[in-house]
């Protein structure tokens, strides 16, 4: 333990991209005789997904992206031996094309306020020692020894922390209800079943900083009065399972789980419960059924699970992100947290940026950030300089926000009023070459597969709405369909049994609210403005721009393009299957869609 390294290289985002990167680095470090000075660490997710594998060299603070094993010798030589920056491996700012070498200068990171993700990518997640070294479990000590459960509840209430699982229920009130619930045996649960198809922050957190979740969980158990905890993770999420399992074992070894934690007299232990992943499996009553060993199916929540949960006992379920925030509030105080964010939504939100955006990844920013700032400042704008069309937020349960709302600050209330919802922070950016109708149809299709099928309104309602949307995208829609969608959508929303059904119509209803003209274009003009719906579009060559290079002709899988060298080419609509390969391949933007 007494080795003092002068430099730590934190490597993140290996996965399929460069599994050999770390062995390569280590070998090179040894080869250059730096074994005792430089340490290579596999850290967790840095959240800069489009740029991985990424590397942070401390103490310099140099950040490299897209590192491959072939780059290793140069990297070690230049940066670790000579202390110089390898420019070609640094982040390139999209508009100015300037190279930014230092981590703290990269806008994607500099504009973030990382609370949930505070340790992600900066420590070795499989080492409880590193977590303790950066101050981990200090908050637990403070909570157990110098605070009463009531004081902690007050602190959380004052901080304004709301659950980050999607519903945004005030955590202080939830734990208070749990504490007041009748019964000797109570449970605390962790929801590790991240279901939104475009969300990956829970996974990142579980894999990159599992101990922060555990710390929050133990504090929660202390407040509520539970001595047993369950961490529910789908078994398919093997990385998260492995990470949490190791963390549990290490915490147990150190006596942070078990009897008399840190000498406080409080006893608590937790175990993993694995289930089969499904979108509805993340719903609280469905999750509790799964922990009991039953099928992941929701039940009506007239009586809250904090009073009647697993096996009929009071159960407090929290999302992983919420739990990881709790130790920070304990350490730094409610006022600090309350000072970030908006009036109703305090603190930060972790957004997962996906879709037509340059900086695909995870960004944690204060609540109240405008859509414009998120998309253009943090997100780096839209690739190829295309136009912003909509921001979809809240996953399959959320809605679309048009360009007219670009300057709207985002928090729980503003988003709900606008017909969307915060959800877990999954964000998809659409540009002018995406079709809102098709995207709404995509989400409905997802929900149709994920519906448990118990209640009529969700099961049949989604199926029927999907049938209508499919017809519209194929050019067989009618104007009356839009009213049907509205009526059906509103009933499904108000009548369904669980959150899945209640929010399923949101994509449809919000697109009808803001993008009715696109629907009408599909129905009346039989056209798809985004150029996506295959039945309604046609690919053609723009004669003025085509120089006859033949790239499209060679790539066309149906041989639908004909033309001589150096002469304007032509697409035969009868053969064209609208795959879009010619559009992607043409370097002169000579392929158009109408």
């Amino acid at each position: 333990m007494a080795e003092r390294y002068r430099a730590d290289i934190l490597v993140s985002c290996l996965h399929d991209r460069a599994p050999d990167l770390i062995p390569n680095l280590k070998a090179e470090v040894i080869r250059r005789g730096l074994k005792d000075e430089v340490r290579v660490i596999e850290a967790g997710c840095r959240g800069f997904c489009s740029m991985g594998p990424v590397l942070l060299v401390e103490p310099n603070g140099i950040f490299y992206i897209g590192v491959q094993p072939a780059d290793v010798p140069e990297l070690v030589e230049e940066t670790l031996v000579k202390g110089r920056v390898v420019e070609r491996l640094t982040y390139e700012e999209p508009t100015t094309h300037a190279s930014i070498a230092y981590y703290e200068d990269i806008p994607f990171y500099s504009k973030q306020e990382r609370i949930v993700l505070r340790h992600c990518g900066l420590i070795n997640p499989q080492s409880i020692d590193e977590y303790i070294a950066v101050g981990g479990y200090q908050a637990l000590g403070k909570a157990l020894i110098s605070m009463t459960p009531e004081e902690i509840i007050d602190e959380l209430k004052r901080s304004g922390l709301r659950g980050r699982g999607g519903a945004g229920f005030p955590t202080g009130r939830k734990w208070e209800a749990g504490r007041k619930a009748e019964g000797e045996t109570k449970y605390v649960l962790v929801n590790g079943d991240e279901g939104d198809p475009n969300c990956f922050m829970d996974r990142a957190l579980m894999e990159a900083d599992p101990h922060s979740i555990l710390e929050g969980l133990i504090i929660g158990a202390y407040v509520v009065g539970a001595h047993q905890g369950y961490i529910y993770i789908p078994y398919e999420h093997s990385g998260s399972v492995k990470s949490m399992r190791t963390a549990l074992e290490q915490a147990r070894d150190y006596g942070l789980l078990g009897a008399d934690i840190l000498g406080s007299g409080f006893e608590f232990d937790a175990e993993l419960r694995l289930g089969a992943h499904s979108f509805v499996g993340g719903e609280s009553t469905a999750l509790m059924h799964a922990v009991e060993g039953k099928v992941s199916e929701p039940r009506p929540k007239h009586i809250h699970t904090t009073e009647v949960g697993i096996w009929g006992r009071p159960s407090c379920l929290n999302n992983v992100k919420t739990l990881s925030i709790v130790p920070e509030i304990i350490s730094r105080g409610a006022d600090w947290f309350g000072g970030i964010g908006t009036e109703t939504s305090k603190g930060t939100q972790v957004f997962s940026l996906a879709g037509k955006i340059n900086n695909v990844g995870l960004a944690e920013v204060p609540m109240g950030i405008t859509i414009r700032e998120l998309v253009f400042d943090v997100g780096g704008g839209i690739p190829k300089g295309r136009e912003f069309k909509a921001l979809q937020i809240g996953g399959p349960s959320g809605g679309f926000l048009p360009a007219s709302l670009l300057d709207m600050p985002m928090d729980y209330e503003t988003l709900a009023d606008a017909g969307s919802m915060m959800g877990t922070g999954g964000v998809v950016i659409l540009d002018d070459r995406t079709c809102v109708v098709d995207t709404a149809r995509y989400f409905l299709d997802f929900l149709r597969d994920e519906s448990c099928g118990k209640c009529t309104s969700c099961r049949e309602g989604i199926r029927c709405m999907l049938e209508i949307l499919t017809r519209i995208t194929e050019g067989r829609g009618e104007v009356a369909d839009l009213d049907t969608l509205e009526t059906l959508g509103h009933v499904v929303k108000s009548v369904s049994l669980c959150g899945l059904g209640k929010t399923a119509p949101n994509p449809v209803l919000s697109t009808l609210r803001y993008f009715r003209d696109e629907y009408m274009a599909h129905i009346e003009d039989k056209k798809c403005p985004g150029g996506v719906c295959k039945a309604l579009i046609e690919y053609y060559i723009i004669e003025d721009l085509c120089n006859g290079c033949g790239a499209c002709r060679r790539k066309c899988p149906e041989a639908a393009i004909s033309g001589e060298k150096k002469e304007v080419h032509v697409i035969d609509p009868a053969l064209c299957i609208k795959c879009g390969i010619c559009f992607d391949v043409c370097k002169f933007d000579a392929v158009g869609v109408r």
């Binding site: 002068r6 000075e37 103490p59 110089r84 200090q138 000590g141």
Partner: protein, 123 residues
Amino acid sequence: MPKLKSLEELQKLRQQLQGDIKARAETSTTITVGMGTCGIAAGAREVMRAILAELDARGIEAHVTTTGCIGMCSREPLVDIQQGGEARVTYGSVTAVMVPRLIEEHLIQGNVVQDWVIGRVAG
């Protein structure tokens, strides 16, 4: 792994472990060793090792980084010490033998070793 039986034990462990990640910790002291080709030829590697060993032995928190050739090749090995808001001081022709005194006098006592200084950049 002995179980932690109290908050005090946790805090002690933390202090102990903090040294392991000192490369990532905030410190106000940075020592930079010139490791360009000229530096290495002049023996900068030995100087580097000596610095690390000395810091370790004395339990001092400081960042140690490298830099390339700054042009004063004849004076290599060059060692920069920057403490807090103080001026950055560059020592020249440093050898491993000189290191303990540098650490003792400059870092710990705050006195620059004038004889060995070849340059100063205002803080």
